[in-house]
Amino acid sequence: MSIRFENVRKAFGSKVVLEDVGFEVGSGECFFIIGASGVGKSVLIKHLIGLLRPDGGSIYLDGEEVSRLTEKEFFSVRKKCAMVFQNSTLFDSMTCAENVALPLRKHKRLGAKAALKEALERLDTVHMREFANAYPPELGDGMQKRVAIARALTLDPRYVLFDEPTTSLDPVSARRVDQMIRELCDEVGVTSIVVSHDLRSIFGIADRICMLYKGHVRMLGTPEDFQTTDDPVVQQFINGRAEGPMEV
């Protein structure tokens, strides 16, 4: 029961983003993918649920090769592997409750009323119940993120992908989101893959970390490994220094 990337390669036109990436994520793990902006972190995780297709290599989810599936076959993958987008990406023509109710209506065959009722309970778990009838653009970034997480969790997925969940949030909201991700791993047993370059989240909640650099995995290990490494590139990144060997 795991996720495995093998020799994944992806280029956009002549720009090679991922050259040869491979790693494995264990069950119930809180796995972080870090790296500088534009290094292809989000691109990588979008491959897992078929939003992008690799040019080469393979991706296994629960032992099943998913990178060659058709769009239709991917639907079953996406039901067990949810994603929280970077900008929350709530549907702005619907209220928060309707946003959460949509997947319930579509996949659990619930009626409109039952779906809304369950959506309210889901919103309660992220402490957003009082904003159930608000439209997403009226809310702050942190609140939108919490609704987005509630929406991603409606189908009780075993895997959740977070694309930069704390970027553009204020420090307090960011730590709350961190806490939610950690609780998901510890209490529900969900496997989380988090794309981030927020150092406090990385060293706050990660079980293992994978650093991407120039289309390859630069380093894979626990937070402790990262803090004690003498790789100058990794050192520069986790200390947030402007000067160093890292190329943009």
């Binding site: 987008f85 990406t89 549907f91 189908l155």
Partner: protein, 264 residues
């Protein structure tokens, strides 16, 4: 070698070829979208809430503009006919003359153009914004098919609503023509209606309504296609809206031509 540095005799065929290719790829995209929509119809799995929302929005929002357009169109058709009518002293067939042109041709055509400008453009903008803010990807990530959930209800609503708006528009246009006939040519409304009902057969009315369905499908397809294929962020949405309105207008004229011939 870039196009700008070519001597001019080489530039013209290159430009023509590029235009032909881009039109070809858009038409191809439309056909693919149409095939995907038709595939979703069997078995029909429609999102009822989304369908109702779109029906309401598209119908109600364009009712005022369609009525105003139709009112003027009816009046204009009478003014058009006025010099001929006075010349041949044919007051008793003004109703038929205006009604024939309005119901068969001008009414459906202009109402469709207005509908495209209002509803079609708005639809492209809405879908385009969803694409650039990755809300379409969010749907896919929730294992919801964007064609079935977003596109199918929109296409159906546009076809249905344009059909009904054309019926309403026809009635309003006849009203406008009646008023113009009374004011300009002193034609009694009763004799106006008499000539209309006497000389017009159902087929004339049907022709216009069949056309409105064809136009509705055309507007729906182009506006969804251009909306879904937006690239390049927010400015891309603006470009797509523009391209979609122009493409829908050209498509409407071309289809009108063929349907006029086929429906005789």
């Amino acid at each position: 070698m870039s196009a700008a540095t070519d001597p001019w005799p080489l530039r013209a065929p290159r430009l023509l070829g590029a235009t032909a290719l881009s039109i070809g790829s858009q038409v191809g995209g439309l056909v693919v979208l149409l095939a995907r929509i038709v595939a979703r119809l069997f078995p029909p799995r429609l999102d009822r809430a989304e369908l109702l929302r779109n029906l309401h929005k598209m119908g109600v929002r364009s009712l005022p503009i369609v009525s105003v357009t139709a009112l003027f169109v009816g009046a204009i058709m009478v003014i058009q006919a006025a010099p001929l009518v006075t010349r041949f002293n044919a007051r008793e067939i003004v109703g038929w003359g205006a009604g024939f042109a309005t119901l068969r041709e001008v009414g459906p055509l202009l109402i469709a153009l207005m509908f495209s400008g209002r509803v079609g453009a708005n639809n492209t903008a809405e879908l385009g914004t969803m694409v650039v803010t990755s809300q379409i990807d969010a749907l896919r990530a929730l294992a919801i098919d964007p064609i079935g959930y977003l596109v199918l209800p929109r296409v159906l609503s546009m076809v249905v609503m344009l059909f009904f708006l054309t019926i309403i528009g026809d009635v309003v246009a006849i009203g406008g023509a009646m008023v113009a006939g009374k004011v300009l040519l002193d034609v009694d409304p009763r004799s106006f209606l008499n000539s209309l009902f006497l000389l017009l057969d159902q087929w004339d009315l049907m022709t216009g309504l069949i056309k409105s369905v064809i136009f509705g499908a055309m507007i729906a397809l182009t506006s969804c296609h251009f909306g879904l294929s937006v690239t390049g962020g927010a400015p891309g949405v603006g470009r797509a809206v523009n391209a979609s309105v122009v493409a829908a207008a050209s498509g409407i004229f071309i289809l009108d031509y063929f349907s006029s011939f086929l429906l005789g």
